[in-house]
């Protein structure tokens, strides 16, 4: 049984739909499985399964130009793999790109292969001047998701939300 929180995944998903998100692009990873399943089961959501996360930047840019609100679901390593698209696509063309990034490789991480990415994710976001907030407990999820989207649209720029271990993972420390 996966210790990924189904309840908190639902809280995050509901926060996205409350913001009018109609399209989600995603590439599966452990922490995102419930979120992706919720999108798949939602007849009002367009779920686009990707081969590589950077595609999602283009898809979200296209959806934005076509008047639809969207978001990306990806692991932090997928974010790292998407940087050129974010910089030369979303930032250059002022796209309000909402990114939900699972923050693997941080405190409590047991998978050695996640740890290097975890060590640089926030620093890269800061270097790219992408505002971000951490989603750590269910009580602030709806507010922070809405605020991130509001800022993304006000600034016409990307904004990120880090899906953190305390929110997504139920295993006792």
């Amino acid at each position: 049984m996966s210790p990924v929180s189904t309840i908190h995944s639902r809280v995050v998903y509901d926060a996205l739909t409350a913001c009018g998100i109609r399209l989600l692009s995603a590439l599966p990873e452990t922490w995102l499985v419930h979120l992706i399943r919720l999108a798949e089961e939602d007849p009002d959501m367009i779920l686009v399964r990707l081969a590589k996360e950077e595609e999602g930047v283009g898809i979200s840019a296209g959806a934005h130009l076509a008047g639809m609100r969207s978001a990306m679901l990806m692991q932090n390593h997928g974010f790292l793999a998407s940087i050129n698209g974010i910089v030369s696509g979303a930032q250059l063309y002022r796209i309000p790109l909402l990114m939900l990034i699972s923050d693997r490789g941080t405190m409590g991480e047991r998978d050695p292969w996640q740890t290097e990415g975890g060590a640089v994710t926030e620093a890269v976001l800061q270097t790219l001047r992408i505002p971000f907030a951490r989603l750590e407990q269910p009580g602030h999820v709806a507010t922070r998701v809405a605020q991130a989207q509001t800022l993304a649209y006000a600034a016409n720029k990307p904004a990120a939300l880090l899906l953190c271990r305390d929110l997504m993972w139920e295993e006792p420390a």
Binding site: V48, G62, A63, L92
Partner: protein
């Protein structure tokens, strides 16, 4: 060999037909040549983010399923987002036409002519049902069919290079794809750039 079809010729031949469609181009010469024919509000030139024009076209097509969308891609850009072909093949919006100009080089950097390694249509074949129109018969292109089509001379390795496809066949394929609102297709358009 007969005179090569230029990309500008090809764009000019379909320019009028683009009036009611949303058009996304890649950067460089494709963007410049389309714009040289006359900019329209429904043209978007993705001047960077190499490889993502097709993804952007997919996003537009999914968000507005009743709007016709054309992506004017290149072989170099396609090679930078080959995985995206699998995504396009998975969703195959019927309102999206994906044209790939294949000049087998990165000619926006003319000092560094390169042969792009693979024929995109070959790479794409395993990912989608093939509607290979290379013989012009188009018998598998019934409405509701889907896959990767080649509008030019062949989807198989070419004997010589460049070997541009006849314009009439390109137009035939294009007419069929856009008006039939079939499934997602890549139309490979082998044209010389000059």
């Amino acid at each position: 060999m007969s005179p090569a079809l230029t990309r500008l010729d090809a764009l000019g031949a379909v320019y009028d037909r683009l009036a009611d469609l949303t058009v996304v181009t890649i950067m460089g010469a494709v963007a410049a040549e389309l714009q040289s024919l006359g900019h329209r509000e429904n043209f978007f030139y993705l001047q960077h983010a190499m490889g993502l024009a097709s993804s952007m076209g997919l996003g537009i097509a999914l968000a507005q399923p009743h709007r016709g969308v054309v992506v004017l891609d290149g072989d170099g850009s396609l090679l930078m987002n080959l995985g995206g072909l699998t995504t396009l093949a998975r969703y195959r919006p019927g309102n999206l036409l994906h044209v790939v100009f294949d000049n087998e080089s990165l000619l926006s950097a003319p000092s560094i002519p390169r042969r792009t390694v693979l024929h995109a249509a070959q790479v794409a074949e395993p990912f989608a049902d093939i509607a290979d129109e290379s013989d012009g018969a188009g018998s598998r292109d019934a409405p509701g069919d889907h896959g990767v089509a080649t509008a030019s001379s062949t989807a198989r390795p070419r004997q010589s290079s460049p070997m541009p496809g006849p314009l009439s066949r390109v137009l035939l394929a294009r007419d069929r794809h856009v008006s039939a609102l079939g499934k997602h297709r890549v139309v490979r358009w082998a044209a010389s750039t000059r």
